[in-house]
Symmetry: C2
Subunit: 333 residues, 2 copies
Amino acid sequence: MTEPTPLRFIEAVNGFQRTAVIRTAMELDIFTVVGEGVETAEALAARLGIAEKGARVLADALVVLHLLTKAEGRYRLTAESALFLDRKSARFLGDSVKFQLSEAITGAYARFSEAVKKGGTASDGAGALEPEHPMWIEFAKGMAPLMYTTVLKVAEVAAPAGRVLEVAAGHGKYGIGLLESGAAREVTALDWPGVLRLAEANAKEAGMAEQWRGLPGDALATDWGTGYDTVLLANFLHHFDTATATGILERARAALTAEGRVVLVEHVPEEDRVSPSAPAWFAVQMLATTPAGDAYTLAEYTGMLTEAGFTEPTMHKVPGAARHVLVAERRVR
Amino acid sequence: MTEPTPLRFIEAVNGFQRTAVIRTAMELDIFTVVGEGVETAEALAARLGIAEKGARVLADALVVLHLLTKAEGRYRLTAESALFLDRKSARFLGDSVKFQLSEAITGAYARFSEAVKKGGTASDGAGALEPEHPMWIEFAKGMAPLMYTTVLKVAEVAAPAGRVLEVAAGHGKYGIGLLESGAAREVTALDWPGVLRLAEANAKEAGMAEQWRGLPGDALATDWGTGYDTVLLANFLHHFDTATATGILERARAALTAEGRVVLVEHVPEEDRVSPSAPAWFAVQMLATTPAGDAYTLAEYTGMLTEAGFTEPTMHKVPGAARHVLVAERRVR
């Protein structure tokens, strides 16, 4: 047996250092600059107007994180950073740090011990669930590119989607993706007014404005209307306790036609709740930032869905993301 | 080729969440409690006086970090957490977080972008090198257990050490280890007075007070005396630029007998500066917290040592730690 070492513990303790390195890298847009062929510490320093030593230590750290390569003193993008972190890439998702490292989230983690003690966020009020919380503007702005493969998977498994209601639409990309793929005939996107303006702009930019309409309001209080073929609840139910989430699913059932169905996008850990690591870790995020949210297992989603009058869901893994798409049919009672 | 995914980027961005989880785990002393046989979320909640959900999410996160195991809802220590994170273990090193997550260090990382721009710490004054900086009290208190295998390696490769001067002794464990192993005949430990009191207490506790004496002062200014067989510079030279570090080595040479030698404990990355990951990353720590410190390569240490009148060093890897011990002989000029 190998002698135990504390290196894994130390690495976890020092996680905040990695966050700091990434934050600085994105502020300086260093991946975009390396992508332009500025490849040495000296050249990076000159181009970015920073100290050469700072450029060298930062770039070396990004090599340690496998986000750059280094050979003979020259830094180059990896396949991953070229696709996701170079601002000139269509798949650039670097602005997601503005949400992931927003004061609303980092502040919640600064009070994580309190959250563990009380079993819910220590942030003021309802944390991330406060009406019109500005963090969801950052989410809608920065996180959409992170959902790329998930949007494709939803379009694939939700077709044909007919008339769609997208609840807590945020950036609106799921509904827009359904329109673009031809899976949906029309989409109604529900969210707070501030966020909805961004979704509307996205719908227009995609050339889908005619089949798309916004429904401003609070997902838990506003009248959703009826006659939808599909209700889409993407990254939404995890913010609530199971009773509230079940109530939302009951609202979905009431809004659907007899043959309608609900489509969920969720982080779904295994029943052991500790694997795979990314969806399991999502429970930490919910504890830190919401009063009663969680990373629910398939058994728990099945329980909520059947109680609300749906069939057991089919579950589809999203490639390259820690998310699943769940689809359940409205059951005739 | 596998399709690139942003999961590695996201994990680095969210490093601060791991830090928060560890900080809370250590505050609650959860490893010690699990070590006592309190193994379910329900029992942990009752024992720690926290919400059951908080206990479950925290413990699950520690499983994801490989610091606990989970089977049938029962959490147990791993070999690593049993040895290092259970307060009842002789090798407990959990209090190291009080240094690693001290305000002096986390505050420096909050200004990491500034540090990159200027090529040195953005903290006030000399950062970690301010005279009598209280962070070194936390270091001396919390970090000694982290040096366990390094102390053993120093005792092994420095023997026979004769009369020893330990510069910037901190907790004093290297010198005390040399006395305990019989490698040293007597040890003079130099450090600022506040820290030195802790080293003195450690020497007394080890029963080595008679062969040990403290020399309070500033390592760069105080008279070191002469006639030492060994000058020990553990985790010290990396705080300085090469000129200052070379000057310190010249002071060491002047303090040594003709056959004397210098023993360094250092983080030494490969010449590429990006491997292995832990010593390479140490350059980030030095950039964030010191005006001009660095993780120097073997070639750089060899350059400083030979310039200061020493032979090329022999280098010894410390098992289970990201450190090396370097030994160089005083050269007759």
